[in-house]
């Protein structure tokens, strides 16, 4: 479609491909080469940030499926991440299980919680649904807190890095490749879902649930499926996060974390998987950029203690600016730039309705 000219399709299977033209294949290969070369040239600090972005992408993709495509607002995202991380932590502490046990177990816990989180969606919509998911966030936080204090882990649970045979996953650059692979798998899964009937059904439910039902889509079943898929992915992200940090404490999973993820989805651009990547990169790197900016001004010592406040204020401001001026998020900006250069140096005066 976009970027393709003089390129003709000869079957429906060709039209289903995610990557179509040679140019797209080349750009994708170039991107992968760049990503693979990155940890060899970047300083450790930057690789650390990249890893955080990769981790955030898994959780943000899950939230995008639920909010951006299925249209179900959830404020329980931090609770689900916590559930994944805690399941891993508890399983390890109680039974000493290895990652190949804890990871699927955490995913299963996530799937189960997805049903619980999803049940209110069968009756409630919009803000009311958001409030019930918020309540569930606090339930998870309470249960986690109780476990930690009763078992005497009030300061958190320490988890050793995962190891397979003689290999132990410690180094940031090793994590980098693992998380990159995880991201590729998760994004592929989501893109596949979206180009097939399940994805279309979710979008149909988001746009017109009554019509979707009348067209033969079991709406309740699909809403639950959206919650289950989303929370399973989120729980996996939580479990991997626990191993990455080497430490689980329920205190890390506050409502601010939920807001961060919601911000990734909104700033990235609702209803776009590219938006997930852009949004996660933006939100994760934002505080580091602000910090660097603040440090670069000469009288930075005077406000060094206020840096968190500056951070939150700037973040809030950016959110408002996006909501007001660019509801389509970073993806919207990217599309406009792309469309501009598609015909450059000629100007495009009319823009057709929507784009892929």
């Amino acid at each position: 479609m976009a970027y393709a000219s003089g390129y003709f399709k000869t079957g429906y299977a060709v039209e289903l491909r995610l990557v179509e033209t040679r140019l797209q294949w080349t750009s994708l290969a170039a991107l992968l080469v760049l990503l693979a070369a990155f940890p060899f040239v970047a300083p450790a600090f930057v690789i650390g940030i990249a890893n955080q972005v990769f981790l955030a992408i898994v959780g943000a993709a899950a939230l995008m499926l639920l909010m951006g495509y299925a249209g179900q607002i959830s404020l329980g995202h931090a609770g689900l991440l916590a559930a994944g991380a805690l399941s891993t932590g508890i399983l390890f502490k109680e039974t000493g299980a290895a990652f190949w046990v804890t990871l699927p177990a955490s995913a299963a816990v996530g799937a189960l919680l997805g049903v619980v989180f999803g049940l209110p969606s069968l009756r409630l919509k919009g803000l009311y649904l958001a409030v019930t998911t918020l309540a569930l966030h606090f339930v998870v936080a309470f249960v986690g807190g109780e476990y930690e204090t009763r078992r005497g882990f009030s300061s958190g649970i320490v988890i050793p890095p995962p190891s397979l045979g003689s290999f132990t996953l410690v180094e940031q650059s090793h994590w980098y490749f693992l998380l990159l692979a995880l991201d590729v798998l998760v994004i592929l899964f989501c893109l596949n879902l979206l180009r097939s009937r399940t994805g279309r059904a979710l979008i149909a439910i988001r746009d017109h649930d009554v019509v979707a039902e009348a067209l033969g889509i079991p709406v309740r079943q699909h809403k639950l499926a959206a919650f289950v898929i989303s929370s399973t992915l989120t729980s996996i992200a939580g479990s991997v996060l626990a191993y990455y940090r080497g430490f689980v404490s329920i205190e890390a999973f506050t409502l601010y974390l939920t807001i961060d993820y919601v911000a990734m989805v909104i700033i990235g651009g609702m209803g776009s998987m590219l938006g997930v990547v852009l949004g996660a990169a933006f939100v994760v790197s934002f505080p580091h950029v602000i910090e660097a900016l603040v440090r670069s001004i000469p009288w930075s010592q005077a406000i060094a203690n206020e840096i968190f406040a500056v951070n939150y204020a700037a973040f809030g401001l950016i959110m408002i600016l996006f909501l007001v001026f660019e509801p389509l998020g970073l993806v919207g900006i990217w599309r406009r730039v792309r469309n501009y250069f598609l015909l450059w140096p000629f100007r495009q005066t009319t823009v057709g309705g929507g784009g892929a």
Binding site: N192, A204, A214, L215, G216, I217, P218
Partner: protein, 265 residues
């Protein structure tokens, strides 16, 4: 199958709070019949369709589709039994393309599940291709090939109406419920619509209940006309007979307003 596409509605009553929307409505659609459902605004025509398709649950009465009672079934179950409908205001998914809208209509025909879809292997890929083929037949039937990949929000209103119709037919029904398909169409659009309706009737033998305000179209196309007003049955019969019925004329023109016009003249 027993009398494919036949439907009978028996003594339907529907109340919204204290308001009687439908009162004792009974109607019958024979296999392959084109039944026009007419009446002034607020007569309860759409409510009848909503009760049939399961969106409203009637207070009393039964709906029987092909000798099987469907009253109280979930709308998606009714739809997958072979009963499709269009919506007065289109009800299209504005962010999806025309093709994707039709594929949503084919939902019940896919042999796949969310897991296969996520992997996009086996049944997911196969049914995606097979259903695309079916959707293309519908696209060809309605002559909307050039809009196939257009996002619905960006196409002209007249074409959107056609897409809404096409999506219902894509469901592969034996009974079609059409809710004012001609509303807002120009002359050319209406002529196309008439052609589609006739081809569906004669080539596909699909029964239809057709809510319509254009009496000329009703007179020209319908096998039988059913008239209602204020949620009540008025009369039914052949178009010629019904449209000349003084009660029907009165409903549409209003006896008092006619008298008043007479007095002032």
């Amino acid at each position: 199958m027993d009398r494919p596409g036949s439907l009978s509605v028996e003594r339907l009553a529907l109340h919204f709070g204290g308001l009687a929307v439908l009162d004792d409505i009974s109607l019958e659609v024979r296999p392959g019949e084109l039944l026009a459902l007419i009446g002034p605004n607020g007569a309860g025509k759409t409510s009848v369709l909503n009760c049939i398709s399961g969106l409203y649950r009637p207070l009393r009465g039964r709906v029987v589709f092909e000798a099987r009672e469907i009253t109280g079934l979930a709308p998606h179950s009714i739809a997958s039994l072979g009963l499709a409908r269009t919506f007065q205001h289109g009800g299209l998914f504005a962010h999806l393309t025309v093709l994707q809208n039709l594929l949503v209509g084919r939902h019940a025909h896919f042999r796949s599940n969310a897991l296969w879809d996520g992997l996009f292997l086996g049944p997911a890929r196969r049914s995606e291709i097979a259903q695309r083929d079916e959707a293309e037949k519908i696209i060809e039937f309605f002559e909307i090939e050039r809009y196939r990949h257009s996002v619905v929000a960006g196409i002209p209103f007249g074409i959107q109406k056609v897409v809404g119709f096409a999506r219902a037919l894509a469901m592969g029904p034996r009974l079609l419920l059409l809710d004012e398909p001609s509303a807002g169409l120009n002359r050319e659009g209406k002529e196309d619509l008439a052609r589609f309706i006739l081809r569906i009737k004669h080539e596909m033998h699909i029964s239809m209940i057709w809510v319509e305000h254009d009496m000329q179209m009703v007179a020209d196309l319908a096998d039988r006309v059913y008239v209602m007003d204020y949620g009540e049955y008025i009369t039914d019969g052949s178009p010629d007979q019904v449209l000349r019925d003084p009660r029907v004329v009165e409903i549409y023109l209003g006896s008092q307003s006619a008298e008043r016009r007479h007095e002032s003249a």
